[in-house]
């Protein structure tokens, strides 16, 4: 497999099987495919960009180290999200984290920006305040509820995929999703929204 186009056309599972044989180019392709969405996943969980980068790095290293044992029993996206979720749970346990109180961690030097930075300062401040409120509302959820909400609302994964990632039934996913939205709704009402 020499042609770069060949790599781009391969499925995630096929790429991972090549990674199992030691193909770094395929691993790098997978990395590019999942980097952004996983970083968003971690960022919405933790609210901390630098911490999210560390967890992203850990996820891919763990995928690489486990390549020799990889079997395509499920979709690769399910596989990598399971790893990401476990890493996230461990991180929460380690840090007993409350998500960052301040949005100051976001900034030019951290390599990220808020979409719409061309807005005037007042609008930027308002946007950041709204984002902070969303984080606070997500904080009231259990880890399962928050993960399901993030995977559905932000990562836009179907319930069947979420159920595989969470290792539960579709019914349980829907139930927790419903409960999560009920809590968010109650929070919004308490805060006059």
């Amino acid at each position: 497999m020499n042609d770069l186009h060949d790599i781009g056309a391969l499925s995630d599972e096929a790429l991972m099987l090549h990674v199992k044989e030691g193909d770094h180019r395929c691993f790098e392709t997978l990395l590019h495919r999942y980097e952004k969405q996983l970083l968003s996943f971690f960022y919405r969980q933790l609210g901390d960009y630098e911490g999210s980068k560390d967890l992203l790095m850990e996820t891919f290293i763990r995928v690489y180290n486990a390549a020799a044992r990889y079997e395509p029993r499920a979709k690769f996206s399910t596989y990598i999200y399971q790893i990401a979720r476990n890493i996230c749970i461990n991180e929460f346990r380690k840090r007993e984290i409350r998500r960052a109180d301040s949005l100051d961690v976001m900034g030019e030097e951290s390599g990220i920006e808020i979409a719409g930075e061309d807005l005037n300062p007042v609008q930027i401040m308002e946007q950041r305040e709204r984002q902070e409120m969303v984080r606070q509302s997500l904080d009231i959820l259990t880890e399962d509820q928050r993960t399901i909400l993030i995977l559905s609302e932000y990562q836009e994964l179907p319930y069947e995929r979420i159920a595989q990632i969470m290792n539960c039934t579709v019914g349980t996913v829907k139930s927790r999703m419903h409960r999560a939205k009920e809590k968010i709704k109650e929070w919004m009402e308490r805060h006059g929204m």
Binding site: K36, S40, I61, I112, L149, Y154, H178
Partner: protein, 205 residues
């Protein structure tokens, strides 16, 4: 019952994820059910609220850092043991190795020192008492030990040792001009005396 089912599908309904038949069914149900319409509005409001938290815009891909780490891991795994660079080992491995080496040297050193202490002070046994001298390597003392009457006065001491004195040809409570050697004696299982001792100078007459 129907409303509960419909409301559980509202999120997918809004995002157009349902099959055409189910989508149409919900369309018709919403036309007749104010409760479900209200639930749909609430679901839209919540999604709009959640959508405020946007994805971070990534400027610098992490791919180079990850691949560098992967290459380091591979290099470490490929390298023969004798070529392993100590400084390139993961920190945990490095410190575990250092700690293990320190403990190993300490244990070996203890046994060597103990054995050496025992061996270097070995004197051959002689005489009726059957004891073997294990004091320091001191020729004068050794000769004194071998030449004097080996009347060993001993008394129990705390810790299991005993105080012994080897006096000159005449037993005496006083020095009587003779050098008195007092010892803390212990006798091992091979009847070898293990001692530490002080040499007392004879008193002036």
């Amino acid at each position: 019952m129907v409303c509960k089912k419909v409301q559980s599908l509202l999120s997918d309904y809004r995002k157009g994820r349902l099959d055409p038949q189910t989508h149409q069914f919900i369309d018709q149900h919403l036309a007749d059910c104010p409760d479900c319409r209200k639930a749909l509005e609430a679901d839209e409001t919540i999604s709009e609220f959640l959508g405020t938290l946007e994805s971070p815009v990534i400027r610098d891909s992490l791919a180079p850092d990850v691949m560098q780490k992967v290459n380091q891991l591979e290099e470490f795994q490929r390298r023969p043991l004798r070529q392993l660079s100590f400084s390139r080992m993961p920190p945990l491995t490095r410190w575990t190795l250092i700690g293990s080496m320190i403990i190993l040297f300490a244990v070996v050193g203890f046994f060597v020192f103990t054995f050496k202490s025992t061996e270097s002070q070995y004197y051959t046994a002689y005489g009726d008492a059957g004891y073997t001298w294990m004091g320091p390597q001191d020729e004068e003392l050794k000769q004194l030990f071998e030449s004097t009457t080996r009347d060993v006065l001993s008394s129990p001491m705390e810790g299991g040792g005993s105080l012994a004195a080897i006096v000159g040809p005449e037993q005496s409570d006083q020095n009587d001009g003779k050098v008195v050697h007092t010892f803390d004696l212990t006798v091992d299982e091979q009847d070898r005396i293990v001692t530490e001792f002080d040499i007392e100078e004879p008193e002036e007459e």
